[in-house]
């Protein structure tokens, strides 16, 4: 027997299986389509009041179409022969004879496979034995088939029941309208009232908003009409803050924020100030005591503590350095006077901070001027009091005065070699702000430090012995100058 003719029986079996596959696909698609179509039909029937009696027809058509069209599409979908052959092999226990034979034929048949003829004959014989075999596909349960009864029953009930009214209130108002004839109440306004009676909290619709005053007027004007309740507009009655007061409060807050620079520095408490310890200690040291009874060691200790606490270039650092120098030279009286002066300056500074007097020019003044700030303020006041200064500011750093403006900023410098305003000192050649003592203070303090370093170097014998006196003489000359 020729292989191709032998495979006829195989192809017959494969066609049978393919038909079964298409039927199964169609049935499944039909059940699923019917289920979803029935669900859609229920939705359609809910709108029967708008669609009228045609909704029933549309629903039936929808169910039928949803079942039939997918079923037809699934039935017409081709089934690959190899897939059908595999299914047949599995279903009838053919040990993949059919699929292998068909695949070998498609791949060249006897030309490519030596055993093809024998295989084809074997497959045909196996297929011929299965002519009266049951379907290759076991029955398949479709889930939608089991659930279909529910939407179908609901659709049938909706189809038999009368149409649901689209708006129950409107229907009721329509019914009441004849009874309310001649009472100045039309059906829409009646519906609105009914709606408010049913939902008192709901806001009236935009198109039918009725003001309470109008409502009252209408109620008073229509004798014997339904008594109109006094409705309160809750939206208006709410006590929300108005925008104007909010803006006003905001302005006040902003103004307060702008003034923070001029407010007293409340964070620095005098009672807990670090300077208070120095004051107390200085009082302990100098209370009614003869300066000669104080030891140089205690004075030096106090001065070093002040030096540690004070900022470099601070307003009382000059006295501290003077005191230290005096102590080194053994002049206890001069050192004690320096300490008193420093403490007095310190006390004045503290009081100024507490009283807020110094805040007039902001913190810049304190940072830049120190003691000079008072003088600058005095000069500015005198300048303002002078005739011809009309229109100029009376503050410490008035606008329009270039000199004062130069002084006000810490980045401005003076002419090289310009002397300080208050105290003569050595010209260090350093560029510094005019009128501020820190330059001299730093020079004085550094001189003492260098002298101590020089003594240490001599003690460590880092300087040749022959030059000891010469070096000391040099530092003495600096001190005298």
């Amino acid at each position: 027997m020729e292989p191709d003719s032998a495979l006829v029986a195989c192809e017959e079996l494969v066609r049978r299986v393919a038909r079964a596959v298409r039927l199964r696909r169609a049935a499944r698609a039909a059940w699923r389509g019917a289920f979803w179509g029935a669900l859609a039909a229920v939705g359609l029937l809910l709108l029967k009041s708008w669609l009228g009696e045609q909704a029933v027809l549309w629903s039936a058509a929808l169910i039928a179409a949803a079942a039939l069209f997918p079923a037809a599409f699934a039935a017409l979908r081709p089934v690959p022969p190899l897939l059908a052959a595999r299914l047949a092999d599995r279903a009838y226990g053919l040990e993949d004879r059919l699929a292998t034979a068909l695949e070998c034929r498609a791949a060249g048949g006897a030309r490519s496979f030596a055993l093809f003829e024998a295989l084809a004959a074997d497959a045909a014989a196996s297929a011929a034995r299965l002519r009266s075999a049951p379907s290759a596909l076991p029955p398949h349960e479709v889930r939608e088939k089991q659930l279909l009864a529910a939407p179908l029953t609901l659709a049938a009930a909706l189809a038999l029941a009368p149409a649901l009214p689209p708006d129950p209130l409107a229907a009721l108002a329509e019914r009441l309208a004849p009874a309310m004839a001649g009472r100045d109440t039309d059906a829409p306004s009646l519906r609105e009232r009914l709606a408010r009676l049913l939902h008192p909290g709901a806001a009236p619709s935009q198109g039918s908003a009725v003001r309470p005053s109008d409502e009252r007027t209408r109620a008073q004007g229509t004798e014997g009409a339904i008594e109109a309740p006094q409705y309160k507009d809750r939206a208006i009655a709410r006590t929300d803050p108005d925008f104007a007061s909010f803006v006003k409060q905001g302005d006040d807050r902003l103004r307060l924020l702008e003034r923070t620079e001029r407010l007293p520095d409340l964070e620095s408490d005098f009672a807990s100030s670090q300077y208070r310890a120095l004051l107390r200690r200085s009082r302990e040291l100098s209370a009614g005591a003869d300066p000669n009874r104080l030891s140089a060691q205690k004075l030096a200790e106090l001065l070093r503590e002040m030096q540690r606490l004070g900022r470099p270039g601070g307003e009382w650092m000059r006295e501290v350095h003077e005191g230290l120098d005096a102590l080194e030279q053994g002049d206890l009286g001069h050192a004690l006077n320096a300490i008193r002066t420093a403490l007095e300056r310190l006390r004045r500074s503290e009081e100024r901070q507490r009283s807020g007097q110094e805040l007039r020019g902001g913190r810049e003044e304190r940072r830049g001027g120190g003691a000079g700030g008072d003088e600058a303020a005095g000069e500015a006041q005198a300048e303002a009091d002078r005739p011809g200064s009309y229109g100029l500011a009376k503050g410490a750093y008035e606008k329009g005065r270039p000199t004062a403006r130069l002084r006000s900023t810490p980045y401005d410098t003076a002419v090289q070699g310009q002397r300080g305003l208050r105290m003569p000192s050595a010209d260090t050649g350093t560029l510094a702000r005019p009128g501020s003592p820190p330059v001299q203070l730093q020079a004085g303090g550094e001189l003492g430090q260098y002298r101590r370093m020089m003594e240490d170097a001599i003690a460590r014998e880092e300087v040749p012995r022959a030059y000891h006196e010469q070096v000391r003489e040099y530092f003495r000359s600096l001190q005298e100058r």
Partner: protein
């Protein structure tokens, strides 16, 4: 001879060989099928079982039923590669001239029994590597082909591990099948006692010669296999790889390395032999499924978790089979729609 006649001859030879072997070997039907399948595939077999189960007897019986040369090598720790492969010796001819002459080792036989192969050192074990894969050996720089058909049957004892050298994965992979020889059933044990303690000694006839074996090997390769069957074998091998997306959970947890492509070759070739032995002209998915255990169990390398939990490779491959089968069924269901 027509194709059908050749297939019938194959089925006849298969049956005759089994009958001859069953004269001596009681039970162990799967082991006999596995050994014969490997013989006609052209592969080698590793027999694993406790002592006294008839592993060596099975191989000797097979050698007796085939008209092939047979040699037995007892692997011991002091066995050297030259003891297996052979060596050059100085031979003096009739005129007194001396020359080197190659003396072939026991590996130069059609049927080689490597008894207790895990007792030899790795150096000696590796001497078998080239022989098993290439069917040739190289001695003193000269490659020497081994006689065809060349069929190695190795045995090893799984419980007596002291003084043994477990076979490395590379060498295990060269065995087509690993067959586990189980303990006989009660009825089989009675039959064994009856046969081995009586006066009658069963005589095994030679039913197949070298040429017939080679012809059958050629026939095996002509058996067609459908694409979905081949794909099933490939999917089975891939499912033993933990990193493959379709691998089952057990493979992901316990496997370090999955089966090599030689595993898939063993599945397909074995399926073809099995189909012929059953008189079919095509390999089927059932054939692949039946050979999954002997073809894959020694090719799956367990990881630490698998070793520490004592995972049995057979159970693991069972899960792989189940996973692939259900995936294949799902795929078919989807195609049906």
């Amino acid at each position: 001879m027509s194709r059908e006649a050749r297939v019938e001859a194959f089925v006849g030879a298969w049956g005759a060989l089994r009958r001859e072997m069953e004269k001596v070997i009681v039970g162990h039907g799967d082991i006999l099928s596995g050994v014969l399948t490997a013989l006609f595939c052209g592969g080698h077999v590793l027999l694993e079982g406790v002592p006294g189960l008839g592993k060596t007897l099975l191989v000797r019986t097979l050698a007796s039923s085939l008209d092939l040369s047979f040699s037995r090598i007892q692997f011991t720790p002091d066995l050297m590669p030259a003891d297996i492969l052979g060596t050059n010796v100085i031979v003096e001819d009739s005129v007194g001239r001396r020359e080197f002459q190659f003396q072939p080792g026991p590996v130069f036989a059609h049927l080689v029994l490597a008894d207790e192969v895990n007792r030899a050192t790795p150096k000696t074990q590796s001497a078998l590597l080239e022989a098993m894969q290439e069917a040739s050996v190289t001695v003193a720089g000269h490659p020497r082909p081994l006689p065809a058909p060349f069929f190695v049957l190795a045995t090893q004892n799984p419980i007596e591990m002291e003084g043994t050298y477990p076979l490395p994965e590379a060498q295990l992979d060269r065995f087509l099948f690993k067959l586990r020889v189980p303990y006989p059933e009660m009825a089989d044990l009675n039959a064994i006692l009856d046969r081995t303690t009586g006066a009658e000694v069963p005589r095994v006839e030679r039913v197949l010669d070298k040429a017939a074996v080679l012809r059958m090997r050629e026939l095996v390769r002509e058996v067609p296999i459908a694409s979905h069957v081949r794909e099933y074998a490939a999917r089975l091998v891939m499912a033993t790889h933990p990193q493959w997306e379709g691998a089952p959970e057990a493979a992901r947890r316990y496997v370090r390395y999955g089966a090599s492509p030689r595993g898939a070759q063993a599945l397909v070739l074995g399926a073809k032999v099995r189909a012929l032995a059953e008189g079919r002209y095509n390999a089927s998915v059932d054939d692949i499924r039946a050979l999954a255990l002997p073809a894959l169990r020694h090719r799956v390398v367990l990881n630490f978790a698998g070793e520490s939990e004592g995972v049995d490779p057979d159970a693991l491959i069972g899960e792989v089979l189940q996973s692939v089968e259900s995936a294949s069924r799902r795929e078919l269901e989807r195609a049906v729609g």
